[in-house]
Subunit: 281 residues, 2 copies
Amino acid sequence: MTRSELFAQIKSKSSYLCVGLDTDIQKIPAHLRSESDPIFAFNRAIIEATHHYAVAYKPNLAFYEAMGPRGWESLQKTLEIIPKECFTIADAKRGDIGNTSGLYARAFFDKEASGLDFDSVTVAPYMGEDSVKPFLNFPGKWVILLALTSNAGSSDFQRLEVKNAEAIHSRALFEQVLMTSQNWGNRDQLMYVVGATQAHQLQRIRELVPEHFLLVPGVGAQGGSLEEVSKYGMNRQCGLLVNSSRAIIYASSGTDFAERAAVEARLVQQEMAKYLNEYLN
Amino acid sequence: MTRSELFAQIKSKSSYLCVGLDTDIQKIPAHLRSESDPIFAFNRAIIEATHHYAVAYKPNLAFYEAMGPRGWESLQKTLEIIPKECFTIADAKRGDIGNTSGLYARAFFDKEASGLDFDSVTVAPYMGEDSVKPFLNFPGKWVILLALTSNAGSSDFQRLEVKNAEAIHSRALFEQVLMTSQNWGNRDQLMYVVGATQAHQLQRIRELVPEHFLLVPGVGAQGGSLEEVSKYGMNRQCGLLVNSSRAIIYASSGTDFAERAAVEARLVQQEMAKYLNEYLN
């Protein structure tokens, strides 16, 4: 999917909501457990209920891998039924030496090889350029590179100050990741995971990457402010995908789970419509 | 597997060789492609031919994921037939927020959930403590944390100097990873990936982590010196697992591939026996 196709979808749905499919067999409604593939049955109902309000879906690979080969089958079937206009993200946080990253790229992008055909994959930056490049070599596919994550451990390394000969001011490691990686791919193939919800952080990030899309986790159940993110993170082509997982998919644990997911997704979408109106120039 | 069990095996085989199962359908001998599961048939022959000379096996997850669910099945079957005394490494380079890392841990350590029961998994440090801890919560299992990798991209971030209030001298990021992560787990559950083959690098690393096991890639096809690694990296309990993948498993592309793999593995083992004799105190 191209950047302008993604932006067109954002405008047509008045939404930049990404629904995280963190589908846990222990958390889905009990009545689904008798289905032949409960994970797929849950995902299908969630997608049918929310796809008017969401522009992207993000299965979290760990939830599927933890179930072994049948988890991968549930994932394949889920990907098949996501409407074609929606942007799909394999939240896999991969990254390895060049030839190995090339195989991970095939795992997520090459349907003939693996049965999966995502639009994008999340990638960890620690191993540097040759660990990321193979994902960028797939035409029309996207890398979503981890920059600043929203967990407590992000302060262990991501926020350390690094020395840099060119820079006048010292930079945090995650800022260096934003700077260095812009030489690896362009804004039409590279996005960033940015778990920032505070105004000053987002302003600083937008100085470094004004044009790129940002995938922002941690709004919703994790408590970030959608208004701050939208006000300080939005650019001329929106440039935001804001994820919500648990607050939507586990809105109810009863037989009304899909309807309740739709209600929650619609509430977020309506708030987003307001911010698109206010902050999109 | 405990550290003393691993060391006992190293002594009894006079080897610290890890064989990397980077099994590529396009590189295995043509005569295996008619097998119902060519990847498993190849791995079985390699393991049968090399297990007297190797103390560990390291399947590279990307090679299996690139084949979708049937790749995971080949991996499960491979893991089943690795002799119980051998240490098994899921080279997966995972790492995510706490609850997600917990599910990745189940994927690799919890046989009931996923069908896999590895002794260890490689983990990327970028997301910090809570991304690593869930793997350490599995009794008897190991985390092998990426510190310094052997690829060109390791200079992009791993070798950047970081500022640290406590340190008198500045440190590279990978050195900070070695220091910080020692608070997360002990030498009986934590190893490090160290793609260092030069004497001064290994000496510096051994100052920081004298007791931990190091998994060293890049000896063999990638050209590192086994003697340097052994001389400067070995500690009182050996403390080294040295990996070789392609130089062993693809020693021949003919019907003699397993015999030739055994010959190559035995050559490495004999060299290791010499270094254990010379450098193990």
